[in-house]
């Protein structure tokens, strides 16, 4: 039994936006896999709900004429995993989606909810970061766009103000076409877990030379992070074991994992170092160079 005092099921995003405007305490609920947990824990912040679950305008996945891919924020992870456009053009998103929770969770949890929740462990975040995804956010005075890399502010905090509704996630063609990619979720078990460390990379090659490498981590800093120094260091490097080791060693320049009872800092550092190496290698292989 949940302490839900007020509940509205809306028919459109604009209705959700205007209801939020009128109800300062109201929160959005989509898949509910985070919100209902908060409610079960008795958190009073979630007693007024606006339900955007199953809204058709949030469930669309399409490739635009310019090749950009748009995913509605209400798309579930199961839909992400099964969608032909995603599987063909940005399979790393499907790969990340497949690591989330279990089948029951993936059937209801949404990609928008996953990032709006602000969790530093969000499995979709690392993949969206290396794809330089852009977020379309609806509000009363109109829509705005925000790069996902600017969305996270800190643990549990994102650049949404009351009244904002994340509508869609856009991946531009220039950020996926010609790139190899990979995601690895390191967790204590194979399902129903949050990442100890998550790592995604995309890589574009020019023959055997790295033209562009993008690598992002979750749970390795107070928010999902790109390892910019390693990315800069990778540019123009030949694909060799030695170079990959060197690039992997640079990721720590931008990361700062915490020490907690869940995993010690030293253990996380070990995992980060190894994942960097393995995920970069896998992304290079995906881009076409067999290692």
């Amino acid at each position: 039994m949940f302490n839900i005092e007020k509940y509205s099921k809306v028919k459109s995003v604009s209705e959700a936006v205007s209801l939020l405007e009128k109800n300062p305490r109201a929160r959005l609920i989509a898949g509910g896999t985070d919100v209902l947990i908060r409610l079960r824990e008795g958190e009073e912040d979630y007693t007024e709900l606006i339900d955007i679950h199953d809204l058709a305008e949030l469930m669309d996945i399409q490739k635009r004429e310019n090749g950009d891919i748009s995913m509605g924020a209400g798309v579930t992870f199961s839909q992400v995993m099964e969608n032909a456009i995603i599987k063909e053009s940005i399979p790393v998103i499907a790969q990340a989606a497949g690591t989330i929770g279990g089948p029951q969770v993936r059937n209801v949890a949404t990609i928008g909810g996953n990032i709006c929740n602000g969790a530093i462990s969000a499995d979709s975040a690392a993949a969206l970061f290396v794809l330089d995804a852009v977020l379309e956010i609806e509000r009363v005075n109109g829509a705005r766009e925000l790069p996902v890399r600017e969305f996270y502010l800190g643990p549990g905090r994102v650049a949404l103000e009351h009244g904002d509704v994340l509508k869609a996630i856009i991946v531009k063609q220039e950020n996926y076409a010609g790139y190899g990619a990979n995601y690895y979720k390191y967790a204590m078990r194979n399902a129903m877990d949050i990442a100890t460390i998550g790592c995604a990379a995309t890589c574009k090659l020019d023959g055997e030379v790295i033209e562009e490498l993008k690598i992002a981590f979750t749970v390795a800093a107070p928010k999902p992070m790109r390892a910019q120094t390693a990315e800069d260091g990778a540019r123009g490097k030949r694909v060799t074991d030695e170079n990959i080791e060197k690039i992997a060693a640079l990721v720590m320049e931008d990361l700062n994992p915490r020490d907690s009872w869940r995993a010690s800092k030293n253990f996380r550092l070990q995992v980060i170092r190894i994942l960097a190496k393995r995920v970069i290698t896998a992304a290079i292989e995906d881009a076409g160079v067999q290692r």
């Binding site: 078990r189 009872w261 253990f267």
Partner: protein, 761 residues
């Protein structure tokens, strides 16, 4: 023929179709809901409690605190009553307490119209504490100046023995001596259905409790003791139950719901613990800290094992020192020709209370023993499997601990069978060059022994009532409780086997009701097929005899010439010739005006033997050194559980036990802060109970000895599968990496520390 056949479980359809009714599924008119007010500190005393704000919340019906409950301490362990009061369980509980001994201790309880209201009200109860330093580590608990967690001190029990000779002598004879320290973690049962019970009153002075319990009859007695209410006026009903694994072999919430309904004029009150409460505040498995020493000759003859263990029972005694006693005794049946010294102590701590959990102390002591055995074999340069094969007990050996002759001892045969099924020697050769690099491979083996009940530690009483229904079907009433292990199915097979009546026509009444169900102490100690099986056998022999005698009356044929074949009585020598159907015979017995009567049999039987069961695990692992992750490539359990009643449910038992042990080996650990006593991970996200995707294919095989002391040649199987996988996995990790893990679980973060220390990463 029914025994030995993979017949479908009696409860399979009801369970998979969702029609099986569990405690929470009954709708009770006017049901109120109770929620505990729990301590937020691990050690201290409540100096002030204010319930005023909570009482003002609409829908709150009552609040009781530690001031309101009877002050008679009671013991909760699900053991039979001990006539010898010196052997009684430790009585250290009150239903609600002012003295806080773990985070989450029960201070007060709120009863409200809904669970939600009760939760919100419980959060409004204001409590002030006088906090004490939390005692969590054995060093802190046993320090001379440590505060006494209970008035009697911090040691719950201790004992030691030295059997099979003298360690002093054996140590002189040993050419290789090795010492090691090994420890196991606090894990939790994680049974699917949390602890739940409700109670109400009927006819003025009767309390009815419906509970998810393994031990309805024991529960009745303990409730009676806890609330000072006549035993005969308490009735405990056990409907379908979603697992227990020992956590429900303890009387945890039944007394408080009985107390609440008694205080509230018979109003029905339910207590339905959350997963978080179940993990932190019901029961766990005792963590063991072991110091072990062993000696052998260069040729591989085991001379002695010297084990010194500390078992941590947490905030309350529950099963107390019994766990350490039972756990230790098994080593003597495994290696009966060695000198064995066992020194054990059980201590309190400001952490979750440990109790019975599948295999009752044995996984802990066997882990310590089988780590030591492995390390000795390796030091001596002897194949660890050969070392075990050479030293395990054999049929006819005498258990040096209880001086009983071991009539069936299939352990060596299990090891030999496993060697072949697993291809131990082939894998060993193939893995020689897989000991370097990032991914390393290894193999491991470990063995165990177990018991088939608790005798002579406890009485082993079991009962069975058989009734021939007017339609010729049979009802079986047993006090032994089906908790998912398949006992109802096994009893139906036994009754069908011995009477000759079709399995399909035998129905076991699965709901125990202490008003009607004959007495049995319940589901624990893997005792049911062995102990209750004997009562079923005797009752079935009697029923068959009565049916045939009645057939003689009805047909005029001498009963000696008759037998039962499925649904009819036939000539023994000519089974195709029917004399009378069971339906006609039964109808006659009920309704003939001048003869007959209801045909029933009823037996209550005390078993005075206890057959040891055996087995072993073989496992192959890959270890990713860099990521500190272990992958099980193959795992097989081989068991000597005597004759197998049902190969399909037996396999299910083994798979489930292996799953639990793999969890304990690689994943699970309930963590408590050593300074504050705070419980970190009492939820299924942070407590890394493995998922199905973490499980390898589980394989098993049986060596079917024919145990003469039981009715169908059976020995225990419920708990044994969960004993040897963890040490076998540990030994395989050692084989792969050269690093010998000395504590459970061998989770990535723990392996990281060990690999780091060993310079592997």
């Amino acid at each position: 023929m029914s025994v030995g056949i993979a017949v479908e479980r009696k409860d399979a359809l009801a369970k998979v179709s969702g029609r099986a009714k569990f405690t929470e599924d009954f709708s009770v008119k006017g049901l109120k809901h109770a929620v505990y007010v729990r301590s937020t500190i691990a050690h201290g005393r409540v100096i002030k409690i204010d319930t005023q704000k909570a009482r003002e919340i609409e829908g709150v019906r009552a609040i009781f605190t530690y001031e309101d409950v009877p002050k008679n301490l009671f013991a909760t362990a699900g053991h039979p009553y001990a006539i010898d009061r010196a052997a009684a369980d430790v009585a250290d509980r009150l239903m609600l307490t002012q003295d806080i001994r773990l985070e989450g201790d029960e201070i007060a309880i709120v009863v409200a119209d809904t669970e939600l209201i009760a939760h919100r009200a419980a959060a409004q109860v204001e409590v002030e504490y006088e906090p004490y330093a939390a005692l969590v580590t054995p060093e802190a608990i046993l320090a001379p100046d440590a505060r006494k967690i209970h008035p009697g001190g911090n040691v719950v029990g201790a004992h030691s023995y030295e059997v099979g000779g003298e360690i002093k002598t054996a140590e002189k004879e040993a050419e290789i001596v090795l010492e090691g320290e090994y420890s196991t973690a606090m894990v939790q049962h994680c049974h699917l259905e949390n602890h739940i019970a409700y109670a109400y009153m009927e006819d003025g002075d009767n309390i009815i409790i419906v509970s998810s319990t393994q031990i309805p009859h024991i529960s009745r007695r303990i409730v009676s003791e806890a609330i000072n209410f006549p035993l005969g006026n308490i009735k405990v009903v056990k409907p379908f139950i979603g697992g227990g694994f020992g956590a429900k072999q303890d009387v945890i919430i039944e007394p408080i719901v009985a107390f609440l309904t008694m205080k509230m004029n018979g109003t029905p009150v339910q207590l339905n613990l959350s997963r978080e409460e179940t993990i932190a505040t019901t029961r766990t498995r005792h963590p063991f800290y072991g110091k072990a020493k062993g000696g052998m000759t260069r040729e591989g003859e085991l001379k002695f094992l010297d084990l010194d263990v500390v078992s941590v029972t947490g905030a309350y005694a529950s099963h107390g020192h019994s766990i350490a006693i039972a756990g230790g005794s098994k080593t003597c049946t495994m290696y009966p020709r060695a000198v064995i010294r066992y020194n054990a102590k059980t201590i309190y701590a400001n952490m979750p209370c440990a109790g019975a959990m599948r295999a009752y102390g044995t996984p802990q002591v066997v882990f310590i023993t089988e780590c030591l055995m492995e390390d000795m074999a390796r030091k001596a340069g002897i194949d660890p499997l050969d070392f075990r094969i050479k030293n395990v007990g054999l049929p006819g050996d005498t258990n040096p601990y209880n001086k009983q002759k071991i009539l069936t001892h299939g352990l060596q045969e299990c090891l030999i069978k496993g060697r072949e099924l697993f291809d131990w020697d082939g894998k060993k050769a193939a893995y020689v060059d897989k000991k370097t690099g990032v991914i390393r491979s290894g193999i491991g083996v470990a063995c165990f022994s177990y018991a088939s009940g608790t005798y002579p530690g406890n009485v082993e009483i079991a009962s069975c009532r058989l009734i021939l229904n007017p339609d010729g079907s049979v009802h079986v009433h047993v006090g032994a409780t089906e908790i998912g292990q398949g006992s109802d199915t096994a009893f139906a097979q036994m009754a069908a086997e011995t009477t000759g009546i079709n399995y399909a026509d035998v129905k076991v009444i699965s709901t125990q009701d202490t008003d009607y169900t004959p007495f049995d102490t319940g589901a624990y100690a893997s005792r049911q097929t062995y102990v209750n099986g004997q009562a079923v056998y005797k009752a079935a022999v009697e029923l068959r005899e009565k049916i045939l005698s009645y057939a003689e009356k009805v047909t005029g044929q001498a009963k000696e010439a008759l037998t039962i074949a499925g649904d009819r009585v036939v000539y023994h020598a000519q089974p195709e010739t029917m004399l009378i159907t069971l339906r006609d015979l039964a109808t006659d017995s009920y309704y003939h005006k001048n003869r007959g009567g209801q045909i029933t049999s009823e037996v209550s039987f005390k078993t005075q033997t206890n057959a040891p069961s055996f087995g072993c695990t073989f496992v192959a692992v890959d270890v990713d050194i860099e990521l500190c992750k272990v992958t099980i490539k193959q795992i097989i359990n081989v068991h000597d559980s005597g004759k197998i009643i049902n190969p399909m449910t037996a396999k299910g038992q083994v798979h489930g036990g292996m799953f639990m042990s793999i969890g304990a080996a690689l994943f699970e650990e309930l963590l408590v802060d050593e300074t504050s006593g705070r419980i970190y991970n009492n939820n299924l996200l942070d407590y890394k109970f493995p998922t199905i995707t973490d499980m390898p294919d589980l394989d098993c095989a049986f060596v079917e000895t024919d145990e003469p002391t039981s009715s169908y040649g059976v020995k225990s199987l419920g708990e044994p599968p969960t004993i040897s996988p963890a040490p076998a996995i540990r030994n395989a990790i050692l084989d792969a990496t050269g690093v010998a893990p000395d504590r459970l679980p061998m989770s990535p973060k723990n392996l990281f520390e060990q690999f780091k220390q060993a310079g592997l990463i």
